[in-house]
């Protein structure tokens, strides 16, 4: 049981890393980013190139930096000009980006499945509750907790974090206080995309790389974001852990319904509280 709960946290942690990027981007830009899964995928491939050559940690670093740059580019070139458009139009555009990114990766890396090595440092297992548990999975938990903690601290205790929270709720009022929300969102979208890159590399040794890999996790991340209450950081964290557990426990105790449970949970929560459980965005 302890192992099962841990596994739930692993998957939940991974979902959180992706979902929080979506939340960051949605908060500042009000963009429902369908390309986020493709960015995750791109990050994973970038990291792979170095990891396969034995430089796992360098791959992680390069992927995060490269994806941050991609994010900044996206913000300036695409999201900034989408501000005045309807949500649905931005969804369509990010969907177009998704298709383009998939093709770019297909052309660059091919369609064959690729798999990441586990970094040497984290290879092997430790015994937990009498059975072996991969060290790498603990690493994923640590990374997601570090990101969650770091992000929470950044948001709560720094000036910029305050601005981000303020702008996510009301960009107009925030900018009236003299804060350049465009510049802020450059950082935030960059950060969100970098987190997609980070999760891409971190997920690498668990998941198979393929140009469509992002699609299989994107829907789960959307569920997390919506259940957590669009734009809520804490909500996303708890929703991710919840969905992680539901995936694991569902697979064991309700296998026939496992894939539907997250959807049913979302339907239930949205009908009960249309704004998700972290409640309102003003």
């Amino acid at each position: 049981m302890a192992i099962q709960l841990l596994n739930g946290i692993v998957y939940g942690g991974l979902l959180y890393l992706l979902a929080v990027g979506l939340v960051l981007i949605f908060g500042l830009r009000e963009v429902v980013n369908f390309a986020h899964g493709a960015l995750f995928m791109l990050g994973s491939y970038i990291g792979f190139t170095l990891a396969a050559a034995g430089h796992w940690w360098l791959g992680l670093l390069v992927s995060v930096v490269a994806m941050a740059a991609v994010g900044c580019l996206l913000d300036v070139l695409v999201f900034r000009s989408l501000r005045k458009h309807d949500h649905i139009v931005t969804v369509l555009i990010t969907f177009g980006l998704l298709l383009i990114l998939e093709t770019v990766v297909t052309v660059t890396w091919g369609k064959a499945y690729l798999s990441y090595p586990v970094p040497k440092l984290l290879d092997g297992t430790v015994t937990i509750a009498g059975s072996p548990f991969p060290i790498y999975r603990l690493f994923i938990i640590v990374v997601s907790l570090l990101v969650a903690g770091g992000l929470a601290a950044w948001l709560r205790y720094t000036r910029m974090g305050l601005y981000v929270r303020a702008a996510s709720t009301n960009a107009h009022v925030t900018s009236i206080q003299g804060i350049d929300v465009d510049r802020l969102s450059l950082v935030v979208v960059g950060l969100g995309t970098a987190l997609a890159g980070l999760s891409g590399v971190v997920a690498g040794p668990l998941l198979t790389l393929s140009p469509t890999m992002g699609n299989y996790i994107l829907i789960d991340s959307f569920i997390v974001v919506v259940i957590g209450g669009l734009g809520s950081f804490a909500g996303a964290f708890f929703a991710a852990l919840l969905i992680g557990q539901i995936h694991n426990l569902g697979a064991i105790y309700l296998p026939w319904a496992a894939t539907m449970l997250p959807f049913l949970l979302m339907i239930g929560i949205l009908i009960w509280r249309p704004t998700g459980f972290a409640g309102s965005r003003t």
Binding site: L92, T103, V226, M260
Partner: protein, 334 residues
């Protein structure tokens, strides 16, 4: 994501074309449809046209929800699939006469949508999109995994009974016949939607979309009219699903999949979801685009993606929106 069209020149709201004009246009379109197989000799063209019309029906059903209720659905395939599956399963099992199966396949999704509409209509924006997505995926999962129903993920081929409504059913799998049937249905559907939009119920629904609170304060119930719009929209999707299942003699879980819902939404928005005709036009354009891009093998997604990005940036109001703006500009200059 609620109301696409807020702040635009309203299209559906200004008194629509007079009913007589509508009827004349519909009649002309119908005649054109009947003549088409005689004018076009290529079976391939006819078959592609048939499938483009199925897409057009589905896109119209999504667009109608945006137009009348201001709600974006990511799960319209649920009703498309339900229509196809109900018909396929009933016919394959011989559970009831084909005619009755047709009625059931149309009534079931309509009813489900009406009930869902009672609850979903009050939820807007991204949450609504995710809710509908969830419903669609729940149906997909059921179809995908319930092998006893229709062979799960493999999908199920089925034979039509020899005659449906007295007609030789094999004709329904002949593109030169099906294209006329589908076209006729599309034209009648569009006509029906235009008439509905002009009807009391349609106008009340439009009022609820515009301002649900005020609609209550002028004395209207605000639950039933949007739910009826859901039902009509689902009926259209079900017709499309039923036609496709009949034409292909095959049903598969992909009929429920969110990627189909997503494509339908793309078609609707690209065509111009704030116009009754927009989604159908968008569907045809999207169909042609995808068909064209298909020549470039695995590179087609990038082509479709690039066109999508450019088109939505250049004309956020969709093709029809752009045409209309152009038309007004021309008239103003003239």
């Amino acid at each position: 994501m609620t109301a696409l069209s807020q702040g635009d020149v309203p299209a559906a709201s200004s008194p629509l074309l007079k009913t007589r004009g509508l009827l004349a246009m519909a009649l002309a379109a119908l005649l054109l449809g009947v003549a088409a197989p005689r004018l076009v000799s290529s079976q391939l063209m006819l078959s592609l046209a048939t499938q483009a019309i199925f897409d057009a029906l589905l896109a119209t059903s999504v667009g109608f929800l945006v137009l009348q209720n201001g709600r974006v659905s990511f799960g319209q395939a649920a009703f498309f699939g339900l229509g196809g599956y109900a018909f396929g399963v009933l016919v394959a099992r011989g559970l009831m006469a084909a005619e009755l199966a047709v009625l059931t396949a149309l009534a079931l999704p309509t009813l489900v949508a009406f009930l869902l509409g009672l609850v979903f209509a009050r939820i807007a924006g991204v949450a609504h999109a995710m809710l509908t997505l969830a419903v669609g995926q729940a149906f997909y999962e059921i179809a995908f995994r319930w092998r006893e129903l229709a062979k799960g993920d493999d999908g199920m081929a089925f034979n039509l009974p020899p005659r449906i409504f007295g007609f030789d059913s094999s004709l329904l799998q002949d593109p030169s016949v099906m294209v006329v049937v589908a076209w006729t249905i599309l034209v009648l559907a569009l006509l029906g939607l235009a008439l509905f939009a002009n009807s009391r119920m349609g106008q009340i629904a439009a009022a609820v979309r515009d301002n649900a609170e005020r609609a209550r304060f002028i004395g209207h119930d605000t639950t039933i009219p949007p739910a009826i719009v859901y039902a009509i929209s689902a009926l259209l999707a079900a017709i499309a699903g039923l036609l496709q299942a009949t034409y292909n003699g095959y049903i598969a879980p992909q009929m429920f999949h969110w990627s189909l819902s997503g494509s339908a939404l793309i078609m609707a928005v690209v065509g111009g979801a704030q116009f009754i005709l927009g989604p159908a036009i968008g569907a045809v354009c999207f169909f042609i685009l995808k068909d064209f891009a298909g020549r470039f093998a695995e590179y087609w997604p990038a082509i479709v993606g690039s066109v999508l990005v450019i088109v939505t940036l250049v004309m956020p109001q969709g093709i029809v929106g752009l045409l209309k703006a152009g038309w007004f500009r021309m008239r103003r200059q003239a």
